[in-house]
């Protein structure tokens, strides 16, 4: 959503870059080679794990966007407990009708939620929850110019 807050600046970005993959585009497989990937969210389950490794392999510059990707943030709150304890709580203790832990169809939870850079190498970090549009715009503009952005004036953890 923060990304959409770029508003008319999206057009400036679009003039220099084309969007090749996103949950909102039709292509379902990650392209062979991508110059810049923004990734948000922490690595929570096996699907995330495989996806991020695939993304890394096919990306030149990988950007962690937002606190969940960078710190684990809210998803990582479950890390104080074991994955099983979390499933028990969600699917047994708090369910009255046919409590059961889903084994099929949903990805297997990792023992711990991890920030992206604990799984693959990350090149640029844009903290914030959410990162302000200004921070995203500055970061993208700098990256498109081939520079590494210093974002400390634009955003921080949490804000």
């Amino acid at each position: 959503m923060s990304f959409l807050d770029l508003d008319e600046r999206l057009i400036q970005i679009a003039e220099k870059a084309s969007l090749v993959y996103s949950p909102l585009v039709d292509i379902k497989t990650f392209p062979d080679w991508v110059d810049l990937t923004l990734v948000e969210g922490a690595v929570s389950n096996m699907e995330d794990w495989e996806k991020i490794r695939n993304v890394r392999q096919h990306t030149h510059t990988l950007v962690s966007l937002g606190d969940c990707a960078i710190t684990g943030n809210v998803p990582s709150m479950r890390n104080q407990f074991s994955a099983n304890a979390v499933l028990e709580r969600s699917y047994h203790e708090n369910i009255e009708l046919y409590p059961q832990i889903p084994r099929d169809m949903v990805p297997h939870l990792l023992a711990r939620v991890r920030p992206v850079h604990e799984v693959v190498k990350v090149d640029v970090f844009i903290p914030g929850c959410p990162p302000p549009a200004d921070a995203i715009f500055f970061a993208l503009s700098e990256l498109l110019e081939g520079r590494t952005p210093d974002l400390s004036a634009y955003t921080r953890f949490g804000s």
């Binding site: 710190t71 684990g72 104080q80 407990f81 920030p115 850079h117 604990e118 844009i126 210093d150």
Partner: protein
């Protein structure tokens, strides 16, 4: 000491000539001259502990780093407060702080008012390189007005000091060693049943993070009022 306190010295901080009294610390002199040295454990009006290590500075002519909060100025000192090396050390120290417990700025009562968060931004910490430890820590909400959330505590001991030195109640102290250390009330009893706590709330006001907060404050609502501290410290100094 009174003889010493009369001495006036001149020294250099980041190449600037500054004057100071010999009973002032590097940190005090730097602040008087609007030179910013990051720190988390020190706060004006309380004793010095030198534990956060963010205020380490270089003194030319020596290889060791010194903590600005605990080191008195000397004639002819040549101090460097910002360098690549210091910046790297400070960022790593901050990373260690963030990795130690469960700091979730986005859902914290102190979001946007937190000194740890502020230092991370000021020192350009974009991510934490070391692994997060995710310890399981308690939250004590037994007090009628305040809460202590150990997940956000950085063990700066400001609460311990303000309670002992200003309020003179000594409700707070530290128990345990190393990463197991926790601030405790009385002999590790629930805060709400503490017989020594006067509920003055000074500890809550000096807390740099969201560890100590007032009940009823939601995310980002907990700001602190600290103007009382230097004043009370002065009064205490005069009366003792």
């Amino acid at each position: 000491m009174s003889r010493l306190s009369q001495q006036v010295v001149t020294l250099k901080i980041d190449g600037r000539d500054v004057g100071a009294r010999s009973n002032e610390t590097i940190l005090e002199v730097a602040h008087e001259n609007d030179i910013n040295i990051p720190s988390l454990c020190s706060v004006e009006g309380l004793s010095v502990v030198g534990s956060c290590r963010l205020c380490l500075v270089e003194v030319r002519g020596t290889s060791e780093l010194v903590s600005a909060c605990s080191t008195y100025v000397r004639e002819g000192m040549d101090i460097v407060t910002h360098s690549e090396r210091l910046s790297h050390y400070r960022q790593t120290i901050l990373s260690l702080f963030f990795s130690e417990r469960n700091h979730l700025c986005a859902v914290c009562v102190s979001n946007n008012h937190c000194e740890l968060q502020g230092q991370a931004q000021a020192l350009g910490l974009s991510h934490v390189e070391v692994a997060y430890r995710y310890p399981q820590l308690p939250v004590d909400a037994s007090h009628e007005r305040f809460v202590i959330d150990h997940n956000r505590c950085i063990l700066c001991t400001r609460c311990v000091r303000v309670c002992d030195e200003i309020e003179r109640a000594h409700t707070w102290d530290v128990a345990g060693r190393g990463v197991q250390a926790l601030v405790i009330t009385d002999l590790n009893e629930p805060w709400g049943s503490s017989e020594t706590c006067t509920s003055c709330g000074k500890c809550v006001q000096v807390c740099p993070t969201g560890a100590l907060f007032e009940k009823g404050k939601a995310v980002a609502e907990m700001s602190r009022r600290r103007r009382f501290l230097p004043y009370l410290a002065k009064t205490k100094e005069k009366s003792s």
